[in-house]
């Protein structure tokens, strides 16, 4: 299972958290853990949404 983690500054996905061990997986296509995540998604799975982050006011 995976969960998304958003960047608090941009509110865009910055990491994939592998929930089994809490690993932070970068969005790098050369990273084999990210490749495994993409394969998992391609198999029809959906990661947990990211927690909401408090964004700075304008």
């Amino acid at each position: 299972m995976y969960k998304l983690l958003n960047n608090p500054f941009t509110n865009q996905t910055q990491n994939i958290i592998r929930t089994s061990d809490g690993a932070f997986i970068p969005l790098d296509p050369d990273n084999t853990d990210y490749q495994a995540y993409l394969k998992w998604v391609a198999e029809g799975n959906t990661p947990q949404s990211a927690d909401e982050v408090t964004t700075p006011s304008a």
Binding site: L5, P8, F9, Q14, N15, R18, S20, D21, G22, A23, F24, I25, P26, D28, D30, N31, T32, D33, Y34, V53, T54, T55, P56
Partner: protein
């Protein structure tokens, strides 16, 4: 060979008038004669009889295996681990240990504390935990995936594919025919091989020569997997192939090979692993410790507090008010193969050098790229700009792992 190199010193013997000193000429001729008698020197390749030695034309990187002497063990520091079917593990750095059924074997640097073979201080030891009967699709193995940058010159997948020789030392409580494979990244080209262990609990030198694959798709000079070397510990029939030839299939061993996991308490120890260009095994290419460690850190590095319970890590600065985030930048010891996956110990194992910048949670560790990672904690700080050093919290168990394995 050494005397033949004296020819290269002739230039140094030319005097100011452009004449060769007589002694230099005589010495060079004598040396060349001796060299010719000993070997056949052709284009940098040394041939004895019909055997090419060191045909890789390399004085370094002869061995394409990293940590073949099993010296570096950053993850486990010599501790035993048990195989888990859910994930790869590394018995020592760069050496994957895996099995499709959980808890069938343990892996440990210098398991059993036997005397390593002459010239070595370490080995990777596998111990079977049960007498497991493998199914047709089970596989248990030790392997190393070699990066494409380090195999591209072999030109596998072309008509110019080079012959390689795999050598290693093995020690087992079992005798018989063991197996393994060389395979490509897509795992659709495999070369199963066998080797024989005739005496129990005795270090045995193994050498296997493989003609390079002239077909198939092989990763070239990239950071993907160039070649994977696999030693089977018990592989089912579906994943085993005929030894001694290339096959367009995904195999992990040779048909009929011994199953280590099939005997409770069986041991399989290995070290001195070398994969080199040429049709004969040459002496193991020893690598100094710091070079071997750096080579491993391209794929995995670790900060931990094993030796100092307040080991400092990096400075962080309270820089983001709404979520009270303090963050810093960590530069990897060497450029990694890819941006790393990061795991760590629990938040309670970390502290800071500044009491008002206490840490309440791990916000996120992000491998930015091959060189840099971002480290961010949620803090209880109250003033932007506060800076402190992240340290271990008086424990030996704090760690942060950075993994860019193949």
């Amino acid at each position: 060979m050494t005397q033949a190199l004296n020819l290269a010193n002739l230039a140094n013997s030319v005097n100011s008038s452009g004449q060769l000193a007589g002694s230099a000429v005589n010495g060079a001729v004598a040396s060349a004669t001796n060299a010719t008698n000993a070997t056949n020197l052709t284009g940098g390749t040394c041939t004895i009889g019909t055997t090419q030695l060191g045909a890789g034309d390399a004085s370094i990187m002869k061995n394409r295996i990293i940590n073949g002497a099993m010296v570096i063990d950053q993850r486990n520091a010599g501790a035993s681990i048990t195989n888990n079917s859910a994930t790869f593990a590394w018995g020592v750095d760069r050496m994957i240990v895996y099995g499709t059924q959980t808890s069938k074997f343990t892996s440990q640097q210098n398991a059993g504390s036997v005397t390593p073979p002459v010239g070595f201080t370490n080995y990777l030891g596998i111990t079977s935990l049960s007498a497991y009967s493998i199914t047709s699709t089970d596989w248990f193995a030790v392997s190393q995936r070699i990066e494409g940058f380090n195999t591209a010159d072999l030109q596998w997948g072309t008509a110019n594919a080079k012959t390689v020789t795999l050598s290693f030392q093995v020690y087992s409580s079992l005798t018989g025919t063991f197996g393994g494979v060389l395979t490509n990244s897509a795992q659709n080209r495999s070369y199963p091989f066998t080797y024989t262990v005739s005496s129990v609990n005795t270090w045995t030198s193994i050498s296997i020569t493989v003609a390079g694959d002239t077909t198939g798709t092989w990763v070239g000079a990239t950071n993907g997997t160039g070649i994977a070397v696999v030693w089977g510990l018990g592989v089912g029939s579906t994943l085993s192939g005929t030894a001694g030839s290339w096959a367009g299939a995904n195999y992990y061993s040779a048909t009929g090979a011994t199953s280590v996991v099939g005997t409770s308490g069986a041991t399989f120890y290995i070290t001195g692993v070398q994969l080199e260009v040429g049709s004969s095994a040459t002496g193991y290419e020893y690598v100094n410790y710091q070079t071997s460690l750096a080579n491993c850190q391209r794929y995995f590095s670790r900060w931990d507090s094993t030796n100092n319970t307040y080991t400092p890590f990096i400075p962080i600065t309270y820089s983001y008010a709404p979520s009270t985030i303090a963050q810093g930048t960590y530069f990897h010891p060497v450029s990694m193969r890819s941006a790393p996956t990061i795991t760590s110990s629990a938040i309670g194992t970390f502290n800071t050098s500044f009491t008002v910048l206490t840490l309440s949670a791990i916000q996120g560790f992000t491998g930015i790229d091959k060189n840099v990672s971002s480290i961010a904690f949620t803090t209880a700080a109250s003033t932007l700009g506060y800076t402190a050093i992240v340290t271990a919290n008086g424990v030996t168990t704090a760690f942060i792992n950075f993994s860019a394995e193949l």
